[in-house]
Amino acid sequence: MSRATATRVALRVDPVACDAYGFCAELLPERITLDEWGYPVVDGRPLDPDLVELATRAAAECPRRALHLERVVGPA
């Protein structure tokens, strides 16, 4: 039985670039919450396919381009 792997997408924040605008947490509350100082706590697990579009939007809206989508290869 072959073990299928899939390329999925996960979120990662660049802590140096981030300036706590908080747009990402507004757009993707399912995966991003804000800590007590306004900085994003990002759930780094691979995203479900239905969230990828929102995640892409969140990454594009960041004024500091601090949110990134990364490809991760994992079990399907």
């Binding site: 660049d14 802590p15 140096v16 981030c18 300036d19 706590a20 605008y21 908080g22 804000l34 800590d35 007590e36 100082w37 306004g38 900085y39 706590v41």
Partner: protein, 440 residues
């Protein structure tokens, strides 16, 4: 490796029979023998030495503890001639090993730098000495001048980055060399070499290079003659705190921690031992017979770090000292990442309240929450180290923590600090930070 007294080895810090030491080139060659490093790329020599260092099991002495030869892979793969950087910053206030090594045996470190340069194809070496350590810089420059007169091949220069805690981090050094700002960088893939411009840089701690120089002379089997099979060799340790003879000692790996402490003559009963650095961890004295080696220390939640052993006397308060450390570390943040910039001072606030016995019941829960919120969310490992220290303090000084939290602080909090903080490091100066958006 258990003996009655601390085994004394004179590998890195060689002395003459009368106890004196001469940092000069002639004395160095008399003590350690000659080392011939080919001036140009020599594949056969490189292959031999590389193999010896890899087989010796030598790990980095700058805090990371990774195999010394591992960085050479990354650098040689990049295809350009690298720059060898000797990291002698020693930003850890409780550490004195690198400056001791460089004032007593500078030629050993410079030999190691030459070896690293020859192995990696580098044509230039730079020694980074913090800008508040003029004595060390002078000693290194004198040694370089001696080598110049003796006709060595690769140019070595001394540079003076700012004396800040995070400036000694290797990506911060690379950033300073490149653009004058000693700010650590987010490193996603450590197998990719650091760069200054387009040149890859090979950053090694000064002690690591000194060990490399010895292995290049005597071989892997000789190196493994001391220490344990899993943790071979010797290492430099700075013993300080509530001891009568604060000193830098060379210890065989695997020596019980209690022996290392005993060599410095503790002033009285010990309530805790700080290992690794200000970003390390406290050790319960009940576990002090643990061997001083990476594996066993990790099992008790501690770390080798940069070879700190700081003894906390029973007359001091572990919580108060931890609070001072965290306040200092908060001030040493590079200031790039929110969780560190805001989280560390918040943790320091809570610890100070706890130490003063003014902690409200929620302070312990808040401390644990904030530790969880800060760790792993910065670009470098600075906040992670602080969190590790705080968690170890809460565990090792658990009884004290309980009393302090109940409003019964110990008298030890008024005792003079046994820790060293660089003079002139301002603590708690108000600073303006522009906050965008922010939590409502």
């Amino acid at each position: 490796m258990t003996t009655d007294t601390l085994p004394r080895t004179g590998r890195l810090l060689a002395t003459a029979p009368d106890g004196s030491s001469d940092p000069g080139l002639a004395a160095h060659l008399a003590a350690h023998g000659p080392l011939v490093v080919p001036p140009r790329d020599d594949r056969a020599w490189s292959h031999t030495v590389w193999r010896e260092v890899a087989e010796s099991g030598l790990t980095g002495r700058g805090g990371g503890g990774f195999p010394a030869a591992a960085k050479w892979d990354a650098v040689t793969r990049s295809g350009r001639r690298p720059l060898v950087v000797v990291n002698a910053m020693e930003g850890e206030p409780a550490s004195a090993k690198d400056r001791t090594l460089l004032t007593r045996s500078p030629h050993l470190v410079l030999d190691g730098a030459e070896v690293a340069a020859a192995l990696s194809g580098a044509r230039q070496v730079v020694v980074c000495v913090a800008d508040d350590q003029d004595g060390v810089a002078r000693a290194v420059e004198r040694a370089i001048a001696e080598r110049d007169r003796a006709g060595r091949s690769r140019p070595v220069s001394v540079v003076r980055p700012p004396a800040r805690y995070v400036a000694g981090e290797e990506s911060a050094l690379a950033a300073w060399l490149e653009r004058g700002e000693a700010l650590p960088a987010l490193r996603v893939d450590k197998s990719v070499a650091l760069r200054v411009g387009r040149r890859p840089v090979l950053v090694h701690n000064a002690e690591t290079l000194a060990q490399v120089a010895l292995v290049a002379r005597h071989g892997a089997a000789w190196f493994r003659g001391r220490g344990t099979p899993e943790a071979p060799g010797t290492t430099l340790v700075t013993v300080s705190g509530g001891v009568g003879r604060p000193s830098v000692v060379e210890v065989e790996l695997g020596t019980p921690v209690v022996d290392v402490v005993a060599a410095a003559e503790p002033l009285g009963p010990v309530s805790g031992i700080l290992l690794g650095g200000y970003g390390g961890a406290w050790l319960d004295p009940a576990h002090a017979s643990v061997p001083y080696a990476p594996g066993p220390l990790r099992d008790v939640g501690a770390t080798l770090g940069v070879g700190i052993v700081c003894v906390l006397p029973a007359t001091s308060c572990g919580i108060a000292e931890t609070a001072r450390i965290v306040r200092y570390m908060a001030g040493e943040s590079a200031g790039q990442c929110g969780p560190c910039v805001f989280g560390l001072p918040a943790i320091a606030d809570d610890l100070e309240l706890l130490a003063a016995g003014r902690g409200d019941p929620a302070v312990l829960a808040r401390l644990e929450d904030r530790c969880g919120a800060v760790a792993g969310r910065g670009a470098c490992r600075h906040p992670d180290g602080v969190v590790r220290l705080v968690r170890s303090a809460l565990a090792v000084f658990a009884d004290d923590v309980r009393d302090h939290a109940a409003g019964r602080p110990c008298a030890g909090r008024h005792a003079a600090s046994v820790l060293r903080f660089p003079t002139g490091a301002p603590v708690g100066a108000p600073v303006t930070v522009t906050v965008r958006g922010g939590a409502a």
